[in-house]
């Protein structure tokens, strides 16, 4: 049998990328407090073997805008990773493949931040 042009995990990532943004805040949710400045904190991991994981990270506090770095595996943030101004009420989305993780570290005060993390597998 011919190998499919698009792998199953690619299809799952595609579904997650299309449907996922319209689904948050549904799925499994947790709250994380990130207080240490300059230390990476893992916020989500795809521990499935064959599914794509859609992750929504949003602020659950309403203090000021914070500059942060999001990194995917490995969990050590570097200046080459995704540096953003994380404002209250904004949110970020990630699609993770099996075994991938996403981490975040705060670059400068104000801290702590309270994050709302939602995950849904596809």
């Amino acid at each position: 049998m011919d190998k499919p042009i698009i792998s199953d995990i690619m299809l799952r990532q595609y579904f997650a990328a299309v449907i996922g943004p319209a689904r948050s805040p549904f799925g499994q949710r947790s709250t994380k407090s990130v207080s240490a400045i300059g230390e990476p904190t893992q916020i989500a991991q795809n521990s499935t073997r064959d599914k794509a994981l859609f992750v929504t990270v949003s602020r659950a506090d309403v203090s000021g805008t914070v500059t942060v770095i999001f990194s995917q595996q490995p969990a050590s943030g570097s200046i080459n990773d995704f540096v953003v101004a994380f404002a209250p009420t904004s949110s970020f989305h990630f699609v993770l493949r099996p075994d991938e993780t996403v981490s975040m570290q705060i670059l400068a005060a104000p801290a702590p931040m309270i994050l709302s993390v939602g995950t849904e597998s596809y």
Binding site: A22, P25, T31, S58, P88
Partner: protein
């Protein structure tokens, strides 16, 4: 991510999911793609809610057994209000909710698209500010 698959056949869903789930995934996919960019906002059932500060209000729920519900939630923009948006896991206002805002913060919410599975519900809690009117438009796929 764009791998050039805007028009997927049902086979693609059937390859990954059980027949019932494949159909629901297909409907969720259709609701997401067709509803993108508010292109169905003026259609469907429209409702208006007057919020009470601190009191969670259910603004949408998918009462079907096997359909996807496309919901547009329109929050006031430019006012001093702040809102929590929460899902079916219980009436919200808690720490793990999705926060939308009026004009106080840099990001304004305006209208956002949600796609609900069967039994999902959407709640809005106004945190602060003068009493807000919230509009929804919803349509089953």
């Amino acid at each position: 991510m764009d791998i050039g698959l805007e028009h997927l056949t049902h086979d693609a869903f059937s390859r990954l999911y059980s027949p019932e789930l494949a159909l629901l995934m297909r409907r969720m996919y259709d609701a997401t793609v067709i509803g993108r960019g508010l292109q169905r906002e003026t259609f469907g059932v429209r409702r208006l809610f007057a919020l009470v500060v601190g009191e969670p209000t259910e603004v949408a729920s998918n009462t079907s057994r096997d359909r996807a519900l496309l919901v547009y939630l329109q929050l006031p923009v430019g006012g001093p209000q702040q809102f929590f948006i929460s899902s079916a896991q219980g009436p919200g206002g808690g720490g793990s909710d999705f926060v939308g805002s009026g004009g106080q913060n840099p990001f304004t919410f305006g209208t956002k698209q949600f796609v609900l599975r069967p039994s999902d519900a959407l709640w809005v809690t106004q945190r602060i500010g003068p009493r807000a009117l919230v509009r929804t438009s919803s349509e089953y796929f």
